[in-house]
């Protein structure tokens, strides 16, 4: 139980590129912070969210109004540090309470230089983004935006066409776990994916985003994993070629989120920037084969173009899952190769665990492949 340093904070605001701005109070260090302003509807799991590399370069608006209640724990980082460019909340808790809480959210973000603006009408901001789309924004101190800041905002980079995977990825490869080897491409990999792969029974070698197909094959993996990550999948063109090459060797491949989009692109599909994306832990996704509904964690601003009948431009891909809210593509499978991917996050963290079985599905695919290889050799 601690007081955070910031008190009630100084006047600040969130300015959007369309000129709308939202008043609040700045807590901690660091403004101004530029980034794409997106909202997430997760009720819990702010620590996981802020450390999720997929949020790299984004200012995250929490629609849940009370944030920071349970502090920051030692066990819930999804990467080494907060990845977000800024955080916007309705009310930042001044005191936290939880048996695992070790420090306050405000202190933790301040230490990482991430600005947090509180006391914002986050619902108004959310509705604004919902109606006009996610857009660039800035968190800055002051009672209202200046012209200079507006100009600075318009000059900041846009998410479209941005390869952030190469920024988010690991610089060096590392290995964890026991079992058949899976090479996991890190485009901004969440730690819980590695933990889940490990727990499923894989040895996981995490490699940088730009690792080539040859480098992967040299390691003789039993399967390949394509991670989540930030930015525009269209800009990660090097990965598309690598994925295609690896898939055609017959290796089982499993992709999540950005990995899913890259897979779609690799087989001829296209992606589109969604108006405001899907971010939260309550998205219903239907498994088209069984009709079952999974409540899923989502965090994406781009989507593979397609529908129940397939992915345009990628006749070899079959759509396996659809979002029940808006009909967007949520899961893909190659018709002939042991390759599948999902747009949502089966590793959760934060969010529901309904989609955990995809990891076992991947293990089954890997075992099948190992069995076939054993039989033929």
């Amino acid at each position: 139980m601690q007081h955070h340093a910031g008190g009630t904070g100084r006047p600040a605001f969130v300015l959007l590129e369309d000129g709308a701005w939202f008043a609040g109070r700045l807590v901690g260090r660091g403004a101004p912070g530029f980034g794409e302003v997106v909202f997430t509807t997760n009720l819990t799991g702010y620590q996981e969210t802020f450390t999720d590399p997929s949020y790299l370069g984004q200012i995250v608006v929490m629609t849940a109004p009370m944030i920071g209640n349970y502090g920051i724990t030692l066990t819930d980082d999804e990467s080494a540090r907060p990845q977000v460019s800024g955080v916007v909340v309705r009310e930042l808790a001044r005191h936290y309470s939880n048996w695992q809480g070790k420090r306050s959210l405000a202190d933790w973000l301040a230490a990482a230089g991430v600005p947090i603006v509180t006391e914002v009408d986050t619902r108004r901001l959310t509705r604004h983004i919902r109606d006009r789309g996610a857009m660039r924004g800035v968190i800055a101190e002051g009672s209202e935006p200046t012209d200079a800041l507006r100009a600075q905002l318009l000059a900041s980079p846009s998410m479209e066409g941005l390869d952030l995977a190469s920024r988010a990825t690991t610089r060096v490869a590392y290995t964890q776990g026991e079992g058949p080897l899976v090479v996991a491409f890190d485009y901004g990999l969440k730690r819980n994916i590695v933990r889940m792969l490990e727990r499923t029974g894989f040895r996981v070698e995490v490699v940088p985003a730009e690792t080539t197909a040859e480098q992967v094959l040299e390691r003789h993996p039993a399967g390949v994993f394509l991670s989540n990550g930030p930015g525009d999948p269209g800009a990660v063109d090097y990965a598309q070629r690598t994925i295609r090459t690896l898939a055609e060797t017959g290796l089982p491949i499993f992709g999540i989120c950005l990995g899913h989009q890259l897979l779609g692109l690799a087989f001829g599909g296209s992606t589109t920037k969604m108006s405001y994306g899907h971010r939260g832990g309550n998205h219903p996704v239907q498994d088209l084969a069984t009709g079952r509904v999974l409540i899923t964690t989502q965090n994406h601003g781009f989507a593979v173009v397609g529908g129940p009948d397939g992915v345009s431009g990628a006749p070899d891909l079959e759509v396996t899952h659809l979002n029940l809210n808006d009909g967007t593509v949520e899961g893909l499978r190659h018709r002939y190769l042991p390759v599948f991917a999902v747009q949502y996050h089966p590793e959760a963290a934060p969010g529901p665990h309904d989609a955990y079985p995809h990891f076992a599905q991947f293990l089954a695919a890997v075992r099948t492949r190992l069995g076939e290889n054993a039989a033929t050799s």
């Binding site: 139980m1 939202f22 008043a23 909202f39 509807t41 997760n42 009720l43 819990t44 799991g45 620590q47 996981e48 629609t63 849940a64 109004p65 009370m66 209640n69 349970y70 724990t73 066990t75 819930d76 309705r90 009310e91 808790a93 001044r94 005191h95 936290y96 309470s97 939880n98 048996w99 695992q100 006391e119 009408d121 986050t122 619902r123 108004r124 959310t126 509705r127 919902r130 939260g280 832990g281 309550n282 998205h283 219903p284 239907q286 009709g291 079952r292 509904v293 409540i295 029940l324 809210n325 959760a348 963290a349 934060p350 969010g351 529901p352 665990h353």
Partner: protein, 1085 residues
């Protein structure tokens, strides 16, 4: 999967009368279920004995049976209607228990009725403590160590292992009835015995105490395709040890990490699958060790519950409605989210606001009951509030409670917060043992400088909540120190910050000794008004087309009046004794009527249990406290043609004058007329002018004045405060000494108003008249004769429509008087008048130009929807236009009986009096008085015996009256037992009564006979001061051992009539629709 076509008719069982632990929430869920299944084209048959509900309105189900919700009577309905399926999950524990009994006795099998929603196995596992623990064990989930015992010996052995304090939970009881916490062996034995007695299967779970652990609930839905969603998480501010119905609760959970929450979510999904709720909702409770995060499963309800009503209102996800749809085969993905209308129901709502629920208690009605909160529920209602933050919602919640607090504020004196003193030791010791006032005690402690750590040690309330409270206390200091009114910009910033923390104008004014109106005027000058945000299930992610709104002090306003003429209906706030579901019924009926007439309707209410706060009843719903400030701001936004105050009971009525003074148009009867009826002096003038007789009366502001008035009037006198509902602090006073003792209590209830003193008409008949007036014509809805004698509150008295012991001439006189009152008061809407008839003379007791508690009963009996018609006359329709010209007649008899919470309050006398103490009511309808009364008794859980022993013990005054009654019982074959005086008196008159010892005379005495099951009916009237304890013990024993009892001669006579009817006739059930057809025929003829 689409809906099932192999079933076409479905029986829904309601929950019966409103009792503690089973309240209006089941009217809400039942109503939703009926509507949901009707719109799918099923033939819906409903059984519920509670006439005050919306669900029993004949327009709703295809066949509505107001019959006892007991296996015997429901079987009759099944026999007659032959439904294909039975949905048992909408009517609380009552419906589940009846359904299980019908499974066990083979009725369902015999008539080929399928249980849908939850099957027998699921209900059994969830309800049976031992089976549930085993089931949890199978899926690797922990429950508190404990064992189910069926005897005292086994219980003592069990507690050896689990230790003290020990939690006891009887199987198959609702609201934790009979449960409790024992701190030592003595308490344990007493509680265990009580619990075993109350459990219908004589088993009690003896559990390791996890008092002080954090408590959570999840609301879970599953469809037949095995899709599961969590609708809502709820965190209890009061940790384990206080029943969740008595806890202040918050949604969503505030202090769980995602990891902890997902663990709970995973467990919930495994539980609903293992228990096997095939298609429907359930509620699962968890305890979490605050030190280690260890999670235990406490219990699961395989049905819609109080919490699911709360969760529905908190999230906008209509659990009962969706539960009904999945029960007939739909999958969640096939059903739309009714709020967004663009997304499916297979999702989990997310909240961008905080919901706080605060229970409302009625300990003031039971002064001898212990006010401690335990695992047995004792609250009678609740208020829910929505805010953007916990602080805002909490403060709104305390206002919504309508307990005279402007927010989270301490009482005027320590006594108001149930404290004898305010020193640190007294405070901490009080806080250690939870009472309804605990949060006020904590506030006093914070003000006194007690640390959050110390408060956490004493209360075990999570420090997060305590810090929130401490921040509010700190803010108050800031406000007090602030130099308000010196700098507009500073005022504005300061006010906005405080409004955002939930402070009301009233509260801010009080803190600075300023008037509420002064703060409000200043705030308006600064342009500070609340905005309204939408409860949309999705935190703004998708557009929503349903205006379900709450106020807050953010920037964007989502309220969108559309220019259509708008009517605001003020609801009745949290349920309480004296103001319950019957007023919600009136508000809902009127709202629907306004809508039909083309008006845009706006409902304002704070009660999550009700139908009125369902988002599809009105065009717009404001979930707000019913205080002047909140209502005025809504009026400002909505600019209505008028506000309806006459339908929601005392709550809106109390606002009428202030609203009118603020220039708000009031619909129907003017506030001035309402005031004339309330104001003793004005009313007396009116009565005199109309030439109507009134009991001799007076008013007094002082004890001396009261004594003088009573002397003039003559004892006994009826003493009561002005402006109260439900007979609060109302008493019959027999002498000056008693008056001296009681005066202060009465005076304190309505400060600033005189105490009313009336001559008490002993042995008079009383009657209630409900009528409607359009300003010109009056139609009498019904004249109801009370069965209990004068002196018992009308809400507590059984009554019969039409009257059975009053002459036609007297009935006509009451009708005439009521017409005269309605016209003289210029009533536009409803009016209720109460009369007493003594020695052939009709006296007027009181007149209320507003909806009464009996409106739904009269409407259900006659088929005339009085509340809806009242709405029509309020917008200028004439009764003739509405086709209502003649007073309705009915060629049958309806009896209303009251239901009491005495079983929940050990130590409370069950003797009835002028202060209302019933929580609910039931109705019996039949072609004779005896049968209607018998049905009402069966519904009120006092099923009358057909044979056995009647134990008669009455005072001298009643001895002559009891003779014919005793004779009839004797002739019916009953053994007559009587205490010495009564026995000799009866013997002397030829009735072979057998003697029974009074308690002080030795043993075995009357109580022993009751305990050992040798008494089947107790006829008791108070014997006088000497034997008061005896009487009291006797009545408590009857209550505890389920012996039906009457405490008045008229009720005893009625019971006799009823037993004759039961013995001589076949039991028959008949739907309201059929009864009303009879009434229409009678009217034609």
């Amino acid at each position: 999967m689409p809906k099932r076509t192999d079933i076409s008719s479905i029986l829904i069982i309601g929950s019966g009368p409103i009792i503690i632990g089973q309240g209006a929430e089941f009217d809400y869920s039942g109503t939703q279920a009926v509507r949901a299944l009707k719109e799918e084209g099923y033939r819906v048959i409903l059984v519920n004995s509670n006439p005050a509900t919306i669900m029993t309105d004949p327009e709703l189900a295809d066949r509505t049976y107001i019959e006892p919700v007991t296996p015997e009577w429901v079987a009759k309905v099944i026999e007659r209607e032959r439904p294909d399926a039975l949905l048992p999950t909408m009517g609380g524990q009552t419906a589940l228990n009846v359904a299980m009994a019908l499974v066990r006795d083979g009725t369902l099998e015999m008539y080929g009725v399928e249980l849908i929603g939850a099957n027998e196995r699921a209900i059994r596992i969830a309800e049976d403590r031992a089976e549930f623990a085993q089931a949890m064990d199978r899926i690797g989930l922990a429950t508190p160590a404990g064992s189910v015992v069926g005897s005292i010996e086994a219980g003592l052995a069990a507690v050896e292992r689990t230790g003290y304090p020990s939690i006891l939970r009887p199987s198959y009881t609702l609201g934790g009835t009979g449960g409790g916490i024992a701190y030592n062996r003595e308490e344990f034995e007493a509680l265990l015995k009580h619990g075993l007695d109350l459990s219908p299967v004589h088993s009690v779970l003896v559990e390791r105490s996890i008092i002080g652990w954090k408590e959570f609930e999840l609301e879970v839905m599953r469809d037949s395709a095995d899709n599961v969603v969590i609708v809502c998480s709820i965190e209890n501010v009061d940790p384990m040890g206080v029943h969740t119905g008595d806890s202040i609760t918050v949604a969503p959970a505030m202090t769980l990490t995602d990891r902890e929450y997902q663990k709970m979510r995973d467990a919930s999904i495994r539980i609903i699958r293992e228990v096997g709720v095939a298609a429907g909702g359930c509620n699962i409770q968890f305890a979490v060790d605050p030190a280690t995060g260890e999670q235990l499963v406490i219990e699961m309800n395989p049905r819609v519950s109080r919490s699911s009503a709360l969760a529905s209102k908190a999230t906008g996800f209509p659990i009962a409605r969706i539960g009904a749809k999945v029960a007939v085969g739909y999958t969640l993905a096939e059903l739309p989210n009714d709020i967004t209308r663009t997304t499916p129901a297979s999702f989990e709502p997310v909240l961008d606001y905080v919901v706080v629920k605060i229970p409302r208690f009625a300990f003031e009605k039971f002064p001898t009951a212990e006010p401690f909160l335990t695992t047995q529920m004792k609250s009678v209602g609740e208020a829910m509030a929505i805010g953007r933050t916990f602080k805002e919602a909490l403060q709104k919640g305390f206002r919504g409670l309508e307990a005279g607090r402007a927010g989270w504020v301490i009482g005027a004196g320590p006594i108001d917060d149930r404290l004898s003193d305010v020193d640190r030791a007294t405070l901490l010791s009080a806080i250690r043992r939870p009472t309804p006032e605990r949060l006020f005690q904590i506030k006093r402690a914070l003000i006194a400088g007690v640390s959050v750590d110390d408060l956490h040690d004493a209360s075990r309330i999570d420090p997060w909540f305590l810090h929130q409270l401490a921040e509010l206390v700190a803010m108050e200091d800031e406000w007090i120190a602030f130099r308000y009114g010196e700098d507009a910009a500073a005022d504005r910033a300061m006010l906005l910050r405080f409004k955002r923390a939930g402070f009301s104008d009233w509260q801010l004014g009080d803190l600075k000794q300023l008037d509420e109106a002064h703060i409000r005027a200043g705030r308006h000058r600064l342009g500070l008004r609340p905005v309204y945000k939408t409860v949309d299930t999705c935190a703004g992610e998708f557009p929503s087309s349903t205006p379900y709104l709450y106020s807050c002090w953010d920037e964007e306003n989502e309220a969108a009046p559309d220019g259509r003429p708008t009517v605001i209906i003020l609801g009745s706030g949290p349920n309480r004794i004296g103001q319950g579901v019957e007023f919600d019924y009136c508000c809902v009926r009127a709202t629907l009527a306004f809508r039909e007439l083309g008006y845009r309707t706006v409902m304002v209410n704070s009660n999550p249990e009700t139908v009125s706060t369902d988002f599809d009843i009105s065009d717009v719903l404001y979930f707000e406290p019913l205080t002047l400030e909140h209502v005025l701001e809504i009026v400002h936004v909505e600019q209505p043609i008028g506000v309806v105050v006459q339908l929601g009971g005392q709550t809106p009525l109390g606002l009428a004058k202030a609203l009118a003074a603020a220039g708000v148009p009031i619909m129907g009867t003017s506030p001035d007329s309402i005031d004339i009826a309330e104001d003793r002096r004005q009313f007396e003038a009116l009565v005199r002018k109309l030439g109507i007789r009134q009991p001799a009366n007076g008013t007094a502001d002082t004890v001396a004045g009261a004594l003088e008035a009573a002397e003039r009037i003559g004892y006994p006198v009826l003493v009561r405060p002005s402006y109260v509902l439900g007979g609060r602090a109302m008493r019959i006073v027999y002498d000056a000494e008693e008056l001296r003792g009681f005066f202060d209590e009465a005076a304190r209830v309505a400060p600033g108003h005189p105490v009313l003193i009336d001559s008490f008409l002993e042995d008079a008949f009383e009657a209630d008249v409900d009528a409607i007036c359009d300003g010109e014509n009056v139609v009498i809805g019904g004249v109801m004769q009370h069965i209990e004698d004068a002196g018992i509150h009308s809400g507590d008295s059984a009554c019969v429509l039409p009257p059975y012991l009053i002459t036609e001439a007297q009935v006509e006189q009451m009708r005439e008087h009521t017409r005269a009152f309605a016209k003289a008061l210029g009533v536009v809407g409803l009016i209720n008048a109460q009369y007493a008839i003594k020695d052939g003379v009709v006296y007027c007791l009181e007149v209320n130009p507003r909806a009464s508690r009996t409106i739904p009963f009269v409407s259900k009996t006659t088929g005339v929807p009085l509340a809806g018609l009242a709405a029509a006359v309020m917008v200028g329709k004439k009764l003739t236009e509405l086709g209502l010209t003649d007073d309705p007649l009915q060629p049958y008899v309806a009896v209303k009986e009251a239901v009491f919470p005495f079983a929940k309050f050990p130590g409370v006398d069950t003797r009835l009096g002028p202060e209302m103490r019933s929580t609910g009511e039931v109705m019996g309808i039949a072609d004779s008085f005896g049968m209607a009364f018998a049905k009402a008794q069966a519904s009120a859980d006092g099923a009358l015996p057909l044979s056995g022993s009647v134990f008669v013990t009455v005072n001298d005054h009643d001895k002559p009256t009891v003779v014919p009654i005793a004779r009839r019982f004797h002739e019916l074959g009953f053994r007559i037992l009587a205490t010495s005086g009564t026995q000799r008196y009866l013997r002397a008159r030829g009735i072979p009564a057998e003697p029974v010892l009074k308690v002080y005379e030795g043993r075995p005495n009357g109580i022993d006979l009751m305990v050992s099951g040798q008494v089947h009916l107790l006829v008791n009237t108070p014997l006088g001061k000497l034997t008061q304890r005896d009487d009291y013990a006797m009545r408590r024993a009857a209550l505890q051992h389920g012996v039906p009892y009457t405490t008045t001669m008229s009720a005893a006579a009625a019971a006799c009539d009823a037993i004759i009817a039961l013995k001589s006739r076949r039991l028959e059930v008949c739907s309201l629709q059929e009864w009303h057809a009879l009434a229409r025929e009678a009217a034609k003829a």
